[in-house]
Amino acid sequence: MTNDLATLPAASVDSVLALAASPHFAHDRICFAAHESGLYRSDDGGSNWRGMYDSLQLTAPLTTTAVALSPEWETDLRVFAGVDGGMLRSMDGGAHWSITNMSAPPPLVSTVVVSPNFAADGIVISGTIEDGIFRSADRGSSWQPWNFGLLDLCVLVLAISPDFASDETLFAGTETGLFRSTNGGRAWREVNFPGEHAPVISLALSPTYATDGIVFAGTEAAGLFCSGDGGDTWRELGVDVRSGPVNAIVVSPQFARQPDVLVLLSSALLTSHDGGATWSDRPTGLNFEQEMSVLIAPQGIDQEAPLLIGCSDGGVFNSLHPS
């Protein structure tokens, strides 16, 4: 079955809640979009989409709140989809799914990240709205709650260190603050983030986090913050990013020599070329009439690289092919 997003059920607002792209997007053009109505896959960079839950023979739409692909996608075709009630796992690119149980009562998954060292450690971490953090060390087969030190169990966003294999560092943005784990997600400590600015709804780590300790944290109403010491101290960035929620932050893969950052607000896409000190609008060619909620940059954030932007009305736009 092939669906254009425009033809998706219009009975309710079918917001895009998460996006994920293949690590080899430049070649295979594969990406996934998690919607209130389910999970969709595109094999052409976001132009055409098809529903992924046919094999489940659902009688009602299954709201999908998070999606992540294995870094070994090319060989294992593994997809993790967070839903209200637990985590779905596919090992064939989304054609078939298995439901992996988390502890009762069933949690509402809000975010999922996969270890960059997944081939060796098999670690997947998911955040939930009421039950904190769940961790799997067996490629998503089983999940255990790990909430030591996590004083707020409403987890909105997770970010994993690019050097997770050696530093085992993760950040969790919650309703009331920001937490850090330095042992692979098994214990959490609150970082010195100004709690009055929470909720923290977006996070991004520098590709060279292990050496520069740079973390960006976007809030719902208080703008964007940056830490240069792994989260111990924070400073607020630019007045331009204070207008509304910071829905997504993307850091350039070449951040160390070219400190470019992209920030997605509800109604604007901003770019900074100086690590967040100054900001300007990034033209995308899109005519935004609806709120933008999700952004991924599978090939980096250069002007000629495609950006995938999910919107609250259900549309997913490829910045290189706006329609």
Binding site: P145, F148, D152, E175, A187, R189
Partner: protein
Amino acid sequence: MPKALNRRVVFQPETYQGIQRGINLMADIVRPTLGPCPRNVAIERMSSIAAAELLDDGGTITRRIVQFADRDADMGAMLVRHLLWRLQEQVGDGTATAATLFQAVYNQGMHYVEAGGNAMQLRRHLEHGAQLILNELDSFTVRIAGKVKLAQLAESICHDHALATVLGEIFDIVGEHGHVDIRRAQGREIERHYVEGMFWESSTFSAHMFSDQHKLRMDLQNSAILISDLEITEARSLLPMLELATEAGVSTLVILASELSEASIALLLQASREPEKFQVVAVKTPGLGTLEQAEAMEDLAVLTGGRALLKAAGDALHKVAVEDFGHARRAWADKSYFGVVGGKGNARELRRHIANVRGLLDHTEDTHVRTRLLQRVGKLMGGSATLLLANSTDTENNVQEALARRTTAALRAALRDGVLLGSGRSLLLCRSKLQAMLSGSENPDERMADRILIKALEEPLRTIASNAGYDPGTIMVEVNRAAAGFGFDVRCGCVVDLAQAGIFDVAAAQKAAVYGAVAGAAHALTIDVLIHSKNPQYVAST
């Protein structure tokens, strides 16, 4: 005979000689236990048929010694004993270091005073020097993190690889304030498990309330919790509250009460006859005594967002309002414990509450109260760890349990206050500051105090080397030649990069040992007269 007539008064020079005998005796008893290759001290037990107790921990050894027959020496020995006891209680480590420092400072100081030095001036300069050493140690202190480093530190304290590995993992997870329950188990190896959420020793009023009758356990999901210490004697008093709960859409309810009549239990069981529609269980209010109960209720109220109904405040069941109920994602109970997971209290309020309990912890000296506060903070932080010790003979179990407790206290202190390079190296590094002070001073008492401290700071490394079978003089030369971060590793018999080899000392223990030993010895040097009983009632060790 009246006590006053049975007193012996001792003057100089017997005073110094007596105290010195006692200090040397106690320090020599503890000295073999210093370092990663400690020797044991065997202590005869009270019961003549029991085997001698083998100990390698200075704090415990000194606790076993109640009195020496030599009454003059006994008074000196008790000065050391109290210091080591206090150190073990507070930081769990550093006792042998303290004993060697105490001995070295006192012996050198005594020679100086006997030769005409001023004891009071010497004491003042020794205490000033101790402060200088503490400042230096502060500047050398580094944080420790990660299960590998924590395990290495644990092993340097307990000398048990399996125990150290498990404790390293546990403290990497639960952190400085984490609650660690140490229990004896039936297994052949040391094990650990982690309990999510907060739990207390308590259970249901009736075993019929367990939903799983085989495991004697109940698990309720999305549960409302009525937190109280009420005595519920009238079954009918429950009815308005149960009605209120069902009207509010509560499908699972936990009632905490200090007493529940048989009729009330029957009513609750009757109300739960269709558990898929409504289930209610009653649990005894956790805590022994009014204070512990109040603390448990306070913690539970913050954690779940409820209000504690207190008998003492005149609360009653008919006064319950919907907003008084706490809520949790899961509540559970088995035959020994009651716990909640995913309390729906206000996360900011929870942080404030934890900060308050931590504040109490910082201002409490009482060991029992500290333990209780630490348990509360640990559990409020999100969970607990249970260390299950391997099953063995009673004697071995006791030794291992004591060892685990001591190592746990030391790891907590290390996470809280950091660590220093081990193998006596950090103490040696403090000598340069003292040397500079010595060079810049013309006051003979001050110069002597600096000399005494410089020499005393070498004593721990000399003892570590000697205990491991090396020549202390040779090792001292090798270490003095090495760069600042390098020190002697007795396990391989060579000078190594201490940080890389994971050879650390708990900073709090080292600092407490230095200050306690120097201040204690300096104080002992000012004692001129001893007065004690001629014929003590008992002289044996226990």
